[in-house]
Amino acid sequence: MAIKKFMYVNRKPPYGTVYALESLEVVLIGAAFDQDVSLAFIGDGVYELTKGQNTDAIGQKNFSPTYSALGDYDVTKIYVEKESLEERGLTLDDLQHLVWEDEDDDWAERDSIRLVSRAELADVMAEQEIILSF
């Protein structure tokens, strides 16, 4: 199977609609296909990565711990848009610390999250072959 550049763009808060959860399900299943995968979090989508989520009061499953498994699925490029964070009064410290282990460097831990500007993210998007937006 050919390898294409897939980007999953996450634009919605984690709860309120099912898009965030069902986006993550595509990413996890898609990881088995050895494609060149990256994720982008923009707009309210940045809330998906916030740490300390507690869903007790809304009776829904807190699926946010699953993001920390992405590294094990070889999903190592997670772009977070700087402006989207700032517009919401958030910083990188409000997000989960997502890492992956570099097989070529004695399994050294590397950061998965890449903080990029809106303009930089547009360039990354322009390089993609398949963009799935949620």
Partner: protein, 130 residues
């Protein structure tokens, strides 16, 4: 051109399914190949055989079903999304202990891998809704 379609919204509440249907029909008429139509999120509800819209309105599931029959379209309903929303084919209904299934002819239920494969195998993946 080889094209795949992703439908992310159910019938009627939003126009995405209608637009996807019209696009698919137009693409076929223009001589393009439709590799697959993949139904995800509430889009799985387009596959219901239990819809009874008013007679003067379009019957969206039936339109898809007929388009599939006429053009031998591969129309896939995501199993994970379908299970949540109560859409099932005969096999799945039996497995879950239900008396009947609710999938209209022309659709089949399969996994998300079919979406990834559609992306890889097609020249374009065109997404409707969400």
């Amino acid at each position: 051109m080889k094209i795949s379609i992703q439908v992310n919204e159910g019938p009627y509440q939003r126009q995405a399914s209608d637009t996807a249907y019209q696009f698919t029909k137009a693409a076929l008429a223009a001589g393009h190949e439709i590799f697959r139509v993949f139904f995800y999120h509430d889009g799985v509800n387009n596959a219901t055989k239990l819809a009874v819209p008013p007679q003067d309105d379009r019957h969206i599931p039936k339109l898809w079903s007929e388009l599939s029959k006429e053009n031998n379209l591969d129309m896939v309903v995501c199993i994970a999304a379908a299970q949540r929303r109560g859409m099932m084919d005969a096999d799945e209904a039996k497995r879950q202990g239900f008396e009947d299934n609710n999938l209209i002819e022309g659709f089949r239920i399969s996994g998300l891998g079919q979406l990834i494969e559609a992306g890889v195998e097609s020249d374009r993946l065109v997404v409707f809704g969400a």
